[in-house]
Symmetry: C2
Subunit: 196 residues, 2 copies
């Protein structure tokens, strides 16, 4: 998605080979007009999948997922990050390790929101190691749903997440596939015929 890549080039801040700050337009200050374009693009990519729910993970995924949900005309479900195990009927949890924050959290789903047979599109801001997306997919499947698509706003393809999800059989799309980065530069994959 060219508008997004252009924004990453102009407003993103690559600190080193691992960390890309996008807090000017995606994570902290949010350009909701761009999020709306992102929602349209995810709709275009996944509308053939018969999606019944958009699922995301709090809190950076919420804005792009909300626009996708609005454009696709299906509800959004927010998976919460709990700090402790909740033993309660109707609650499913799985532990997710965050490489960014170096801590674990309990990704939490209320099962009433995912009915058996539900066709789920999972949307998140970043795909890096794939821990969050794998955990979320596991929860959705334990509730009886089917993950028919995974959409990342930005993927760091030089980290293992994209490969892991594809090998697990998921239909994964990223709107900005980064193949290499370092202090002050970001290099995108040559998707849609575009050279970064």
């Amino acid at each position: 998605m060219e508008a997004l890549k252009q924004r990453i080039r102009t407003s993103g801040r690559a600190l080193n080979s691992q960390v890309l700050l996008v807090d000017m337009f995606l994570n902290n200050q949010v350009d909701c007009a761009l999020m709306d374009e992102i929602g349209e693009e995810f709709k275009r990519l996944f509308e053939a999948e018969g999606v019944t729910k958009v699922v995301t993970i709090e809190s950076s995924g919420i804005a792009p997922a909300a626009m996708t949900s609005l454009r696709m005309g299906v509800p959004m479900i927010i998976l919460k990050k709990a700090t402790s195990v909740i033993l309660s009927d109707g609650i499913l949890q799985t532990e997710v390790f965050s490489f960014t924050k170096r801590t674990s959290y309990q990704l939490t789903l209320k099962t009433e929101f995912i009915q058996p047979g539900e066709r789920v599109l999972l949307i998140d801001d970043f795909l890096a190691n794939g821990e969050a997306a794998m955990g979320a997919s596991k929860l959705i499947e334990r509730a009886g749903g089917k993950v028919v698509g995974i959409g990342a706003v930005i993927s760091k393809n030089f980290q293992p997440g994209m490969q892991r999800l594809k090998e697990a059989g998921y239909n994964v799309k990223s709107l900005a596939e980064i193949v290499n980065m370092g202090e002050g530069f970001v290099e995108f994959a040559d998707n849609e015929g575009e050279k970064a």
Copy 2:
């Protein structure tokens, strides 16, 4: 806002005189078409104020604030809830006590996103004791911004927040003002000529 009150009546779950669950359409599963109507309504209520930024608090405020930001054509800023004090240039924090969770957190603003003179509309899902809104307003003002409006999706007017914010001089609007509630019932204020 009648569509919202109707949804609270049909899908909200008042557990007792204090707790209203709206996790079917606002907090956990989110009806983004309704959020879009909410965004339109906040735009209508505050568009005369010359708003330059919409500010919200993670994570339940993000969906309605994102739609307000989209409709008003200004960026959204997400105030983060940190668990510890961050001593860093460009970071402002204030402690907020959550009556719901019985714990405190450090509400956190990156000052680069609020320029002096910025005209801020603060949007949150619930207004109850007003702790979060007062804390957020304080941060915005410390950064040099002016809080030109505070919009709550739902206010519990029998709790002190609405009164506190009005007494502090803020222009506060709520789309669903609850004056009384108990197990299985919710009573709305007679605003806009509507009887609940």
